[in-house]
Symmetry: C2
Subunit: 483 residues, 2 copies
């Protein structure tokens, strides 16, 4: 290792000699090049060539749902303190007002706008999830292309095609390095999201195959995010910066700024440098046939999915039985051990702490019939009725219960006993949220930020994206009109 570094120091210059793929003198020095297909080029070719008309109907539909869910969460996060700070910090430096910010009046250049909207979309950890990799695909990709589409009109069909190609790019690259890459500490949404953003934006810019290769190379040079940042504003920073970095890469490549042709797969390229696992077939196999987009899921509840079965059960029992909190004597849950390990907080004091309390989650779901961001607010956590009821929640660990399952039993004061078994919680791949569920989530998130009629129009634009002459209409409808 030391000798390798020494050679690197000595070579200096433009460093060509260090690049075995370039066939320079170093190739003779015994650095074996790992056999890998031309992953970067194969992926680039797919991204520049794939046509909207070739997309299966179910893939298009899931792409539209990904867009719909993204817009809802981005509007929802748009007035969080994190966004106020970022907007205030960047305003003196932003370029021309090319693109809007969800839920706000300010307009920034497309890279800064993509950053802000990407942060907004992740604020509540309520965005979409590609469960195979834990990537949140929408934030990086859609933040980048929606900003671009507002500056330069693109049809809704082209927009949706680019969105899906971006999601395919980031999730396939994520598959190739997951789980090692995530486990060591990378926030995989930020590290792969930059590829997705570059691919999708580059497609809308009309990059050639070679330019797309370079865009992916410049994206590979800008991974974003470490898991240590979880719990701070830096977590939401990551998908936002991935969106901005991806745009930056595509913009430079579009003018001929070069990179290596093998940045993903080379010996000292992205995957070998950033992960101990590389599965090239995950990136290159079945392009245009197997779609990761179909594996995207949407959260019905604004907390970790470990709590979703319990919340789902509580809401169903409430709705089926018109339970009043004062009727409840005791709530018993049989849960997977992860539930208490991750969400065992008995007496949360803040909304954020409430997301780590199965006691709170079940109590507030039974009272309010929901598990949205409002149910994980400081208000909800300190509500006396919720506090009273959570004392009656009695979870019991049962290794026989799978993480996606729960058995919930409510004993009422009148002696009745109500039970609900959940096999797969709402929001899972097996029981996806319906379009109507997504609409309720959207309306709840936009409440207090956009007027109701504007929210309705925005939702309609998202659903009908494929018929829009200009996808930028969605960004315009999602922002507040300038004063």
């Amino acid at each position: 290792m030391v000798e390798m570094s020494r050679r690197a120091v000595m070579a200096g210059g433009a460093g060509l000699a260090l690049n075995p793929a370039a066939g320079g003198p170093a190739a003779a020095a015994g650095d074996a090049v790992q056999p890998a297909p031309e992953v970067t080029r194969i992926l680039a070719r797919y991204v520049v060539e794939a046509q909207y008309d070739e997309l299966p109907a179910d893939v298009r539909k899931e792409g539209v749902r990904t867009l719909f869910n993204y817009v809802g969460v981005a509007v929802g996060g748009s007035h969080h303190e994190t966004i106020d700070i970022a907007v205030s910090a960047l305003s003196p430096f932003a370029g021309r007002p090319q693109a809007g910010l969800f839920g706000r009046r300010e307009r920034f250049d497309i890279m800064n706008a993509a950053f802000i909207n990407g942060v907004s979309s992740h604020i509540f950890d309520y965005d979409d999830t590609h469960l195979k990799t834990i990537i949140h695909p929408g934030g990086p990709v859609i933040s980048a292309i929606l900003a671009f589409a507002e500056m330069k009109p693109v049809s809704g069909k082209d927009f949706l095609n680019a969105l899906i190609l971006g999601v395919e790019t980031e999730c396939r690259i994520g598959n190739s390095v997951y789980p090692n890459h995530y486990d060591v500490g990378w926030h995989i949404t930020g590290t792969t999201g930059v590829f997705g953003a570059a691919a999708a934006a580059g497609r809308l810019m009309g990059l050639t195959e070679q330019q797309m290769v370079w865009a992916l190379g410049l994206a590979a040079s800008q991974p974003v995010g470490l898991r240590e940042s979880f719990g701070s504003m830096n977590k939401s920073f990551n998908p936002g910066r991935a969106a901005g970095n991806g745009l930056f890469a595509a913009i430079l490549a579009s003018k001929g700024f070069t990179s290596s042709d093998r940045m993903i797969e080379a010996k000292r390229g992205w995957a070998n440098t950033i992960s101990t696992k590389q599965d090239w077939s995950e990136i290159t196999d079945g392009l245009g046939q197997r779609y990761e987009t179909l594996l995207n899921t949407y959260k019905p509840f604004a907390c970790g999915i470990v709590l979703h079965p319990a919340i789902d059960a509580a809401i169903q029992l409430r709705n089926e039985n018109q339970i009043a909190p004062s009727d409840v004597k005791r709530i018993e849950l049989n849960v997977n051990p992860l539930v208490l390990e991750l969400t065992g907080k008995r007496t949360p004091q803040t909304g954020l702490q409430g997301k780590f309390s199965v006691y709170h989650a079940v109590a507030v779901a039974l009272i309010e019939g929901a598990g949205g961001e409002k149910q994980f607010s400081d208000r909800a956590v300190l509500d006396p009725a919720v506090v009273d009821l959570r004392a009656k929640v009695a979870p019991r660990v049962d290794p026989g219960v799978k993480p996606e399952q729960v058995d919930l039993t409510i004993e009422l004061n009148d002696g009745r006993v109500l039970s609900k078994h959940i096999e797969h919680a709402i929001g899972s791949l097996e029981r996806p949220m319906s379009d109507s569920d997504l609409e309720h989530k959207f309306v709840d998130l936009a409440d207090g930020i956009l007027p109701a009629e504007r929210t309705a129009k925005l939702m309609q634009l998202c659903w009908s994206v494929e018929s829009l002459g200009s996808a930028g209409e969605i960004a315009q409808a999602g922002a507040k009109p300038a004063a």
Copy 2:
């Protein structure tokens, strides 16, 4: 590993439960936290507290030389195709004209200006080198703070203090992970440079200790650069993007955008995620006493240092003996094996290939008495006199010759034999370039870009930075006046 990922998926939410340092539920799950000092905070405190008056004179002097060399190479690279492309690509998106670009008339917002100037400084691989880590310290740090200093006046003393603190930050962090981090594939100038840029810029912005902790955390979230990009424009991209990313981090932190308090040292923080080696003492020991800045070196020749002893010997023999190319019968060199391994190209056809040819380097040095960028141009490589002479260069590998040594013998047609032994080439720590050497390099680089009197003024401003009321004067003098 898989189980770890599963827990991560399930926790979701704001991810607090995944952060052992936060004392969340996951801490109980058996994830041992590695014992590490509060590296991020210790470093942040040093960066916000260290005073210019406490800097030893030799450290200040080396900081000035670092600045001087940086400005020269940044001017020199400013009209390369790489910069033309980057300026053209980013012009539509840049913000207010807050800062100039070396050697050019355009003005950008400070983040885009820092990017362009950072790229310029690395174009010829002719910038400074911290040999312990192969970091090129000047590019990321000075590009960031000079752009800032043009927007908001800062004294030359404060500027130099920030510059040195930035260099200390990036090189110390580099020491802690080198060589493993570099060997696996990271371009260490880009991955550590973002810390240096954030620290230096944050210092000039007057960040509090806590804000500096966050700035370093946001910097940790944005490493730049892979070695696979060497040989493409993407290599110069890396120090430029590191400069821009560091500014981005400091700007956000200055308004209260938070990160983790332990982003460098936490279990899933920067050093553990990005390297298999972590030596915290390299970061925290001897702050304000041991200065990495003193270890910075400057290249006298525009090629890898493996060639420097041979070029040095050729120039010395030429100057001592007034050798005409036609007098030369044969040139023999005893060289370390690395020389032929890395620079064994016999018949280079382009200037860039010339950097990997010991034959060309010795021939052109003997004819032109220099090894600057002009000697590694297409013109020089195709010059018939150089082509003739390089055929007479006969290197011989000798494992007994150290990489920093050479024995060069010239046999003349009249029978005379001239010899020169180099123990340490010019530009090494043992035989540093003199201020006068740096001036010659600077003038050579600026030739054809800035008028001679402007170059002279610019050099004078750099040498006298400590007495400047506003360090931004340097940036103004280094740009071309707007038309």
